[in-house]
């Protein structure tokens, strides 16, 4: 460690009584903060004696550096992916140090969304670890003058089988580095029987830091000489500042100046929204100064947007023929000759992310380069937008990734980081932009509001002979193309075109909807409303037929088969259909499993109580959920118990996976109980937790039991798949307990709380 590096670290984490501890943590969380003339992307792994991969290095003292290239927002991927490296390396986890990568394309995709960190990087992590292990064995064999085939590894050492000679990884690291990095074919991966960590898991590498307040989030980033900014943004999307008066704002103690930010040029994508920034000596002064701004706005065309009227428009759209995105047989002909037809409308409003850490970013623009510290899910997207906004090369944008105080998809969209960069350039000094909770709620990229029209003709035994489903929602591509109004394949696939039922006549449609707010990914995305529509309508049909909802659901899923998507644009979450086929047998299995574990049909339910079931595949993972509710005479809903069964293929970290599913039940509880963003004249009506409540400890499931299917199938997602079936099962349970059908979320509309 050079002195220069130490100085620069100290510069980042200034002052205060915890400075000494923070200094150490700075190294641990951010890697090196190197002087500007050095390669900014260097990691300790890069400088290790043995570093056969960008993800890994072994030092002569035996320290193993593993680079976490994906962002940590609570899913434990920062721990779980390095755990895979350590397993193949046969490394002692206690001697592993994890360093966080900056945004750099050499790591491949870094957008930590779509529940695919493990799926997409599992092989790469195994290869990295196995390659280093291979080279360490070569070095030891050479040193001992024995064939490499006679050597193996034990924890952090190479062992010669017959002579029992041993050499530690540290002492071999430099010698191993002299061997060529072997081609992939030569490197043998460990058999499952030899796995140390995969499938067993490990708690978060950061656990102690998290419970002691030493963990550094974006909100905690500091630079010497930095100023604080709070931005008053156009209240309506696409609005502009007509004129403003900052005289009163400038009188607030601690306020230095105001700085206008240009409005975005449509489409919004990840550009700053524009507005007036108040620059101050501390966060609170910036907030106070902002309240004293007097701004006249030109609201622009979205001023006509009212969410109530928009809801009616969506519904009307879904009641008329739309674009067909999947078709089997002839649904119209079957409807024409049907005796019994059921139809229902389902609706899910706009939803906000409301991660506990409001958006925040720290930027320093200096000597033509921008350096950023941000809680971002996508540091390469930060590089893109900042380079565009500042007119500098992408390589001159250095994005350090802090821990994230939640993300849920919002922090994949770096408009807030771009704001900090723009302000730092204008100010000529480091600027930290802090969003208030109100900003976070009002200027979100919302999960789309969606209306689903469902129609089924039923024959003997209540089984559908024809099924029609039409959805209308403003699509995510609208943030990149103002003319985009139809759902794209990437989001229609999310539980809509892939309805898994064995139906003779099926038509799946999608209608147009223009966006008036920014629409974006939120945990589980389109699966939320699609699963709600399909799984609740299924429950309605079961009750209409007088059948047990579990039996009925299994009947519709049908016999185990692989769904044929011929003629359907089905991206399968970017995975190949060969590796990740859509297997209804796996959905059936988790449904049967959750029924068994929850005691479905075996337990008596008193008046005002009931259970509901739902099954859904998303992010390549199969999940079935049973929710039990109690509703009292005042309409107060309690959730005594939830059971979830999941088949996510190979589960690397079962403990973290259980936590994700427990959390999914809580996230889903918020959607059902209170999730609703509305707008009046283009302005978002909600502002903070009093009018956008999220679930509290007294409102959530008392007990969530997570049942993981033991599987050797390739690993799939775990962060998001728990949410969609929970929402539907919860609503189905409410019907079972009250006879009230939830078609319009949240349940406050039914007088329930």
């Amino acid at each position: 460690m050079s002195e220069i590096e130490n100085v620069s670290r100290r510069r980042f984490l200034t002052g205060g009584v915890i400075a000494a501890g923070a200094l150490v943590l700075g190294v641990r969380y951010y890697g090196k903060l190197l002087p500007r003339d050095k390669l900014p992307h260097d990691t300790n792994a890069d400088h290790s004696a043995l570093h056969p991969s960008v993800y890994l290095g072994v030092d002569p003292d035996g320290t193993v550096w593993i680079v976490a290239s994906r962002s940590e927002m609570g899913t434990t991927s920062r721990t779980t992916l390095p755990l895979v490296v350590a397993d193949e390396l046969d490394a002692d986890w206690k001697r592993v140090k994890i360093e966080q990568a900056i945004g750099d394309k050499r790591y491949g995709d870094q957008n930590t969304d779509g529940s695919h960190s493990i799926r997409s990087f599992y092989d790469a992590m195994r290869d990295a670890g196995a390659t280093a292990r291979f080279m360490l064995i070569q070095a030891a064999a050479h040193q001992w003058g024995v064939p490499a085939a006679e050597c193996e590894t034990d924890l952090h050492v190479v062992v010669h089988r017959s002579t029992k000679r041993r050499a530690g990884y540290g002492e071999l690291a430099s010698a191993a580095a002299k061997f060529p990095v072997p081609p992939k074919e030569e490197v043998k991966l460990k058999p499952k029987s030899a796995w140390r960590y995969i499938g067993k898991g490990e708690v978060s590498y950061d656990l102690e830091a998290l419970v002691t307040g030493k963990a550094i989030y974006g909100m905690d980033a500091r630079l010497e000489g930095m100023v604080y900014a709070s931005v008053e943004r156009p209240p309506v999307l696409g609005g502009k500042v007509k004129s403003y008066d900052d005289k009163e704002a400038l009188k607030v103690a601690g306020v230095r100046q105001t700085v206008p930010i240009d409005p975005f040029k449509p489409p919004p994508a990840f550009q700053p929204l524009g507005g007036i920034a108040v620059i101050a000596d501390n966060t609170w002064a910036a907030f106070q100064g902002r309240k004293k701004l007097n701004i006249a706005w030109d609201n622009g065309p979205n001023e006509t947007y009212n969410s109530d009227a928009y809801k009616n428009e969506l519904r009307a759209t879904s009641h008329n023929p739309c674009k067909v995105v999947r078709n089997i047989g002839d649904a119209d002909a079957a409807f024409a000759k049907a005796n019994k037809v059921y139809e229902a409308d389902y609706y899910v409003p706009l939803l906000a992310h409301a991660a506990m850490e409001p958006l925040v970013a720290l930027a320093e623009f200096k000597n033509g380069k921008a350096t950023l510290w941000a809680p971002t899910q996508n540091p390469q997207a930060v590089q893109d937008i900042v380079s565009k906004e500042l007119g500098i090369a992408k390589e001159d944008v250095i994005c350090h990734v802090t821990l994230l105080g939640g993300g849920f998809g919002r922090k994949s969209k770096p408009d807030y980081v771009a704001e900090a960069a723009v302000l730092s350039k204008k100010m000529g000094k480091p600027v930290k932009v802090v969003w208030t909770r109100e900003d976070d709620i009002k200027f979100d990229y919302y999960n789309a509001v969606a209306s689903m029209y469902m129609k089924a003709a039923v024959g003997a035994n209540g089984k559908p002979t024809a099924w029609l489903q039409r959805s209308a929602f403003p699509p995510i591509p609208s943030i990149f193309d103002v003319n985009a109004v139809y759902g794209d394949a990437a989001h229609l696939q999310q539980g809509w075109t892939d309805i898994p039922y064995d139906l003779p006549n099926l038509r799946v449609e999608n209608g147009p909807a223009k966006a008036h707010v920014r629409i974006g990914w939120l945990r589980s995305v389109a699966n939320i409303y699609h699963a709600f529509g399909i799984q609740c309508f299924t429950d309605e049909l079961a009750h209409a037929a007088g059948r047990d909802p579990l039996d009925y659901l299994l009947d519709l899923i049908g016999d185990p088969r692989t769904i044929d998507f011929k003629g359907v644009e089905y991206p399968n979450y970017g995975a190949s259909m060969e590796t990740y086929p859509w297997e209804t047998g796996r959905l059936r299995h988790v449904t049967e499993l959750v029924a068994e574990k929850s005691g479905w049909g075996k337990r008596k339910h008193a008046k005002g109580t009931g259970v509901g079931i739902a099954a859904h595949r998303s992010f390549l993972t199969y999940v079935a959920t049973v929710v039990e509710v109690e509703v009292n005479d005042q309409g107060e809903v309690r959730i005594p118990r939830v059971d979830m069964a999941l088949d996510a293929g190979l589960v690397v970290n079962p403990e973290a996976t259980r936590a994700q599913f427990e959390g999914a039940a809580v996230f889903g509880t918020s959607v059902v109980r209170s999730g609703e963003i509305t707008a009046t004249k283009g302005v978002i009506d909600q502002s903070n937790f009093q009018d956008y409540p999220v679930a509290r400890i007294n409102e959530v499931p008392a007990q969530t039991n997570v049942h993981i299917v033991d599987s050797d199938a390739p690993p799939a997602g775990v962060g998001e798949p728990g949410v969609p079936p929970f929402i539907a099962a919860f609503c189905n349970a409410i019907f079972a307990a009250t006879g009230k059908r939830v078609r319009d979320l949240p349940i406050t509309k039914l007088g329930l709380s």
Binding site: A19, E208, G213, R222, E438, F689, Q703
Partner: protein, 151 residues
Amino acid sequence: MIQLKVNGVEQSFGGEPEMPLLWYLRDVLALSGSKFGCGIGLCGACTVHVNGQATRSCVTAMSDAAGKEVTTIEGLDKNGLHPVQKAWMQINVPQCGYCQVGQIMQAAALLDSKKKPTDHEIDEAMSGNICRCGTYQRIRAAIKAAAGKMA
């Protein structure tokens, strides 16, 4: 000048008396363990102890902290880990962790006043602290585990 004690250390503050304690702790003292979540006392991420009481520092003006003893997560246990922090690790509570400091401060205050809280008492004491990741089930288990240790 406002005089107060933070984690046992005498401090004086000459800034705006309306400034919330949270921003004094974070921006002036660089004690960043206490978190900003909502700014209006609705989420509990900023919870500290003021004279031993769990308090939302984001809505506590510096003038109201004058002469008081403030304890933040950084000072919760001088000798390492408080039993509540140990229980949080044992039960593996945190996901993103951002709210957990506030949860821990709230739970520590609860267990100071009630050695063996019931589920209902836990709900009452903890319902002001939001966890968006949804770790509540483990929070409850960790409080019970800590109660066992502290009793």
